[in-house]
């Protein structure tokens, strides 16, 4: 199917909106848009970060998901207590594949679930005593942990527990940071507020721990990688490139990260932001308080990697700039071989994305390097500034959808008929049953890493094996496809 024109896209949006009642139609229309590269600001065409409509199937998460699942969870040497009923922690346990090194249960705790397992009694009488007991127990059972964070679930805010007081007492008792995070699930409209709350908690309870302590030897080439959660090893694939060009990565926020790294971050010379949505808050704070500049970068696909490496290097002296060129040249034969191999198999394929954080715009470059085209993209929980950054990356007259509903997404895919859909696990099986090749792009469908040159090779292989998988020809029953029934007749 050829690319849609502006009018066709407009008609498509109208058609999809048709099913809603008047009020809902008016509301949803603001969240669906046709990309127009001439626009400077996204608020002219799309509304974002608003409450989802009751009654529609949204794909969003909650503030607890944003704080515990995204920002705090990957900090490996801390214990993150899911404070509240048992489900929130258990169902989000270890699903995100934030890889780390360490011995789980001894000095790292990434894939474990710690919860206060609230029952009726705790709701009625309050859970503060239980929380204090948990902190004492954790210290006895896991003495090598480096700190505790208390991730509030909905009831904590509702019953008015004073977790801050417990945290302060716990901090005195065990002599390690105990961080209360007020990320109750009902706060805000999506996980995005959870990111913000988590960032603020780091700012208030952790970041300034080593202010005035200059014992950490610094170099002029210190950087921090911020907003890389090491999904399938992403942060490692990024880190090697930065180190190869001569930089010293002091901290990883927060994939495979430690609390010590976070405390040392105010000593770096430049903050590198990968996931802008979830960690721009802390970068802006450090810019103001510690005068550390920050830049966004993109390590998906060779074009964007080269662009980003050069931009990062431009903040340093010639040795780093030469280092960046050296790195790009070193990997050129590698990534060129990947492109040569997969581009002929993927050229012209069309992709629709609906993901969160940075990926709806960051992965576009990687697809384009493989000759593919992204014809629709959207954020679960993006804000205006995300869409500002997306407009320029997307082609004209392509679809933009914010907080898309299950129904809209299905209809768009039926009409646009992309060759690949990239979204989350909740969408995966719907589209696979519809016979549309699908990649789960939140945690790379149990693959990865996708960042860096090494990741690009894996990315290309994964896209190829998904799109060109022979199974898609088998989805329709043979007697329902004309071409096949001819073939059957001939064979008979």
């Amino acid at each position: 199917m050829a690319a849609l024109t502006r009018e066709e896209t407009e008609a498509l949006i109208q058609e999809v909106l048709e099913i809603y009642p008047e009020q809902a139609k008016k509301d949803r229309a603001k969240h669906l848009a046709i990309n127009d590269q001439s626009l400077e600001k996204s608020n002219k065409c799309i509304t974002s970060n608003r409450k989802s409509l009751p009654g529609v199937m949204t794909i969003r998460g909650c503030a607890y998901a944003g704080s515990k699942g995204v920002v705090w969870g990957p900090i490996k040497d801390m214990i993150h207590i899911s404070h509240g009923p048992v489900g929130c922690g258990q169902y989000s346990r270890a699903g995100r594949r934030n890889y780390y090194v360490g011995t789980t249960g001894v000095n790292t705790f990434g894939t474990m679930n710690f919860t206060s397992d609230f029952t009726e009694k705790d709701i009625v009488f309050g859970g503060d005593k239980k929380l204090a007991k948990i902190i004492t127990e954790i210290e006895a059972l896991f003495p090598l942990h480096k700190g505790i964070s208390i991730q509030s679930e909905c009831p904590i805010g509702l019953i008015g527990d004073d977790i801050e007081a417990v945290a302060k007492k716990g901090n005195k008792e065990i002599g390690k940071p105990v961080v209360p995070v007020r990320c109750e699930g009902f706060r805000g409209v999506s996980q995005s507020l959870g990111h913000h709350i988590a960032n603020d908690a780091i700012r208030d309870w952790v970041l300034e721990n080593r202010d005035g302590d200059d014992s950490f030897p610094t170099t002029p080439y210190d950087v921090a990688v911020i907003g890389d959660y090491n999904i399938g090893g992403d942060a490692w694939a990024s880190r090697t490139l930065l180190e190869e060009m001569g930089l010293r990565v002091v901290a990883q926020w927060s994939g495979d990260g430690t609390i010590a790294e976070i405390e040392k971050t105010p000593k770096v010379k430049l903050n590198l932001i990968h996931c802008y949505r979830s960690m721009n808050y802390i970068a802006r704070h450090m810019e103001e308080k510690y005068k550390i500049p920050w830049i966004e970068y993109n390590f998906f696909g060779p074009t964007k990697i080269a662009e980003s490496l050069r931009r990062i290097a431009s903040h340093f002296d010639e040795t780093i700039q030469a280092g960046a060129e050296r790195v790009i040249a070193r990997y050129e034969s590698e990534y060129q071989a990947v492109i040569d191999k997969y581009k002929p198999r993927l050229e012209g394929k069309r992709v629709m994305l609906y993901i969160g954080g940075l990926r709806p715009r960051h992965v576009i470059g990687a697809y384009e390097d493989l000759g593919m085209e992204v014809v629709g993209t959207g954020y679960e929980f993006g804000h205006n500034d995300d869409y500002d950054r997306t407009i320029k990356e997307m082609g004209n007259a392509t679809l933009l959808y914010d907080d898309v509903t299950g129904y809209e997404f299905e209809e768009f895919v039926k009409k646009v008929q992309p060759d690949l859909v990239g979204s989350g696990v909740k969408e995966k099986y719907i589209f696979q049953k519809m016979g549309v090749p699908f990649r789960q792009m939140h945690s790379w469908d149990y693959s990865g890493p996708y960042h860096g040159y090494d990741g690009f090779a894996i990315f290309a292989r994964d896209m190829d094996m998904t799109i060109n998988n022979p199974c898609w020809k088998q989805v329709k029953a043979p007697w329902k496809t004309d071409a096949n029934s001819e073939a059957v007749k001939v064979a008979a």
């Binding site: 600001k41 808050y281 802006r284 103001e288 005068k291 500034d385």
Partner: protein, 74 residues
């Protein structure tokens, strides 16, 4: 009275950021921008106007309180 995070971009222009509104915009003009005095009315690239109490020039980046000036006023 939104809190506004102000910083200079690499081109030396003032960047205006309101966290709660995800508003990130370059300031087109600042009423007072001299060695002694900074502040007054700030006009953003999208046409909206904000007012800062004039102060001695601060060290950017910095967070300051601003008053929204209604665009239809003058």
């Amino acid at each position: 009275m939104p809190s506004v995070m102000l910083k200079k971009n690499p081109e030396g222009k003032l960047v205006f950021y309101v966290p709660k509104k995800d508003l990130e915009e370059v300031a087109e003009s600042v009423e007072f921008d001299t060695a002694e005095l900074w502040g007054g009315e700030v006009v953003l690239a999208d046409g909206s106007k904000y007012y800062f109490e004039p102060i001695t020039p601060p060290d950017f980046p910095i967070t300051l309180r601003a008053k929204r000036v209604d665009s239809g006023e003058d």
